[in-house]
């Protein structure tokens, strides 16, 4: 389904759109307040951008350095070329440890690889332990936002969902009761788990360590209780040095939720005594994106979600309307690189207002990349006949001033003389909810010519 179709469906319930918009604008506003309290914010963004650009330009070196250091620390490192290989590696690790029950903290990479259905098909129970993730998992839905996975759900909906799956009592969506019950439910899962899977926010090349950021402490709970820890990371998660965390952790918390820092920035380096630690490093299309100079910077992304919160389209169409693992503006420049045809409407789901680029903590030129994807999509994927022909016609008319003048005259006459009902009839999508201006008798150019004649 195209983004616009999905967005039209989402917009049938205007009250819900208003609620969704306000919820995300609130987060954007919190981000503004906390970013504006940092004097050197723009310098931090420059640094974040620079470090990421440098890392991506030397990715081979840093990846090998990271692997060497991680192995020295006693961690087992695995490499996966794609999602399939990633899933199989994770499964084989689990099998080797006879692990049947897995707890997982938030990881967009495992979403991207569709790890959960793969493991479930192999008789392994996977429980998402981030509250929002658990909610969408119970609802059998994908996350609609990368930081706030269940932002599209009202607390009353969560109430019903928990009654069905966790046996809670009806509570009118009382958040305290619902989170309390979720906590009890998840504690049980943490205790029973044979293995814990986490994502990786930052992998540090010069130490071989990595950092996982959560607000609920669920990564720590999982990892500290289970005998096996599997951390899954995309190759772009690297940063060269430990000290660079001082840049990224400050940018991440503020950009994501307006917090000065995420509640838990958990540093992992080596397995504790008697436990095992694995890192799976995944490509899955990233080197291909790296090879495209116009789109390389999309790999700077630190998954803060700020571009979603600020995007006036995302706020009014919901994350699911993008039908891709990463929704919103950043998703719209990442996804076409994976499947151009499937995601061909996403770069057009934008007014190119540029708010995403200005809010981005690592200064990805998102709206410029959206523009560039558009140029590629019209050439490489089938386009509606009417769009193609009308663009060609417009191009021709605008190339020749005399033609433009003639077409302009007809258009103005029509707007002035045709009945409104006819002007706003079905083929004119503009006219569904908006009036068109009344066609003036003379164009500016007509007036200018006449004025100059009169003056002579």
């Amino acid at each position: 389904m195209s983004h616009s179709k999905a967005a039209t469906i989402f917009n049938k319930d205007e009250k819900k759109v208003n609620w969704h918009d306000k919820a995300l604008w609130f987060v954007r506003h919190k981000r503004d307040k906390s970013a504006h309290s940092v004097k050197g914010w723009e310098e931090l963004r420059n640094l974040g951008h620079g470090i990421k650009a440098h890392t991506l330009s030397n990715l081979d070196t840093y990846l090998i350095q990271f692997e060497e250091n991680a192995i020295k620390n006693g961690v087992q490192v695995h490499w996966a070329a794609d999602a399939d290989e990633h899933n199989k590696i994770v499964q084989s690790i689990l099998k080797a440890h006879n692990a049947k029950k897995v707890v997982k903290s938030k990881s967009m990479l495992t979403e991207e690889c569709h790890l959960n259905p793969f493991l479930e098909a192999n008789d392994i129970e996977v429980i998402d332990t981030d509250l929002g993730e658990r909610i969408v998992q119970l609802a059998k839905e994908p996350p609609s936002h990368i930081v706030l996975p269940a932002i599209h759900k009202k607390k009353e909906e969560v109430d019903v969902l928990f009654q069905e799956h966790l046996g809670t009592k009806p509570c009118d969506g009382d958040p305290q009761y619902l989170t309390g019950e979720a906590r009890k439910h998840l504690r049980e899962k943490f205790i029973q788990a044979d293995a814990a899977i986490t994502g990786v926010n930052f992998a540090v090349a010069d130490t071989g360590g990595f950092v996982v950021c959560t607000n609920e402490g669920n990564a720590d709970m999982g990892v500290h209780l289970a005998p096996v820890h599997i951390a899954c990371m995309g190759i772009e998660k690297l940063i060269p040095k430990q000290e660079h965390l001082g840049v990224f952790l400050r940018l991440l918390g503020r950009s994501a939720t307006g917090q000065h820092i995420t509640t838990y920035s958990s540093h992992f380096k080596k397995p504790r005594n008697g436990a095992k630690m694995h890192i799976v490093i995944v490509d899955n299309g990233r080197t291909e994106q790296l090879s495209r100079p116009d789109f390389r910077a999309s790999l700077h992304c630190i998954r803060c979600g700020a571009c979603m919160n600020t995007c006036p389209i995302y706020r009014r169409s919901g994350g699911h309307s993008y039908d891709s693992t990463i929704p919103g503006p950043i998703g719209s420049i990442l996804s076409p690189g994976k499947d151009l045809k499937k995601h061909s409407t996403l770069p057009f789901a934008s007014t190119l207002c540029g708010s995403c680029s200005d809010v981005c903590p690592v200064k990805i030129d998102i709206h410029t990349q959206l523009y560039k994807w558009r140029q590629i999509i019209t050439k490489e994927t089938p386009q509606p006949f009417i769009k193609k022909t009308s663009m060609k016609m417009m191009g021709n008319i605008f190339s020749k001033p005399s033609q433009f003048d003639k077409v302009g005259k007809v258009a103005r006459w029509s707007l002035r003389n045709l009945p409104k009902g006819m002007i706003n009839s079905k083929p004119n999508v503009w006219g569904k909810a908006r009036d068109l201006p009344l066609g003036p008798k003379e164009s500016f150019e007509d007036w200018y010519k006449k004025r100059n004649k009169d003056e002579q």
Binding site: F348, S355, R374, P401, R434, D435
Partner: protein, 245 residues
């Protein structure tokens, strides 16, 4: 100083009054301004729709019209931005480079080239500024709410000097109106919703007149205001700055 006036295609055909106000305003400020005949479009509608290659004719026509002027002034931040940012699809001859360097949005030109703040206008109304995105985040005609920079606004500075005008603060200072060129049609539902939400912000804060540097945003907002019979007037900034009586 020879100034060429660029009147965007839709202003030329549908909003000639905006073109007239711009020309009269510049003449009143003693600018040696001329409107070269045979103008069409900057090429943006095709390019933003992904058909940059269909816009080459427009770009060439634009350059040939304006290559001999010291400055090109236009009542549209969006068109000026398009020339500056996207005219790299045609060969970068001296003429093209010169045109790209010297194209100015109207308020930017008055404030930063003419160095005039008070244009002698009188407009006793409560005015809400719609900060059109391409002007704001493309040409940086003002500070945007995302970046941590000092606050400024060219259109705001000029309006502050207009006699009788009260500039109204909005709840969301610089959210997009949802026009977006062909987006307005291809993503109709969202486009309309965004426009409605912008208008509501202006109404809730007691605005009587919405103004902007771009008639494209205003055409979209006006279309909604007219259809929904809302008590708001929509005027381009040139029309306000040209209100002398």
């Amino acid at each position: 100083m020879k100034v060429g006036l660029f009147i965007p295609c839709y202003i030329n055909q549908l909003y000639p009054q905006v073109g007239k106000a711009t020309l009269e305003l510049l003449e009143r400020l003693n600018v040696d301004v001329m409107y070269p005949l045979g103008q069409t479009c900057c090429g943006q509608p095709m390019a933003n729709s992904g058909y940059e290659y269909e816009s080459v004719g427009s770009c060439n026509n634009f350059v040939s019209n304006f290559k001999d002027f010291d400055y090109i002034v236009t009542p549209s931040g969006s068109c000026a931005y398009h020339v500056k940012k996207h005219y790299d699809i045609i060969p970068q001859t001296d003429d093209v480079v010169k045109v790209r360097e010297n194209v100015y949005e109207l308020c930017d030109f008055i404030l930063n080239v003419l160095k005039v703040k008070n244009v002698g206008a009188k407009f006793p109304y409560k005015v809400g500024i719609h900060k059109s995105c391409h002007g704001l985040r493309g040409l940086r005609l003002g500070s945007c709410s995302e970046k941590v920079t000092e606050a400024y606004s060219y259109i705001g500075e000029l309006l502050k000097e207009v006699s009788g005008t009260e500039v109204i603060e909005l709840t969301r200072a610089d959210e997009c109106c949802g026009f977006g060129g062909t987006f307005a049609v291809t993503e109709e539902a969202i486009s309309v919703k965004m426009g409605k939400d912008r208008i509501k912000d202006h109404l809730d804060n007691g605005v009587e007149v919405i103004t902007a540097t771009d008639t494209s945003c205003l055409m979209h907002l006006e279309g909604l205001v007219t259809r929904n019979k809302q008590p708001l007037k929509i005027l381009h900034i040139a029309e306000i700055l040209n209100s002398v009586n």
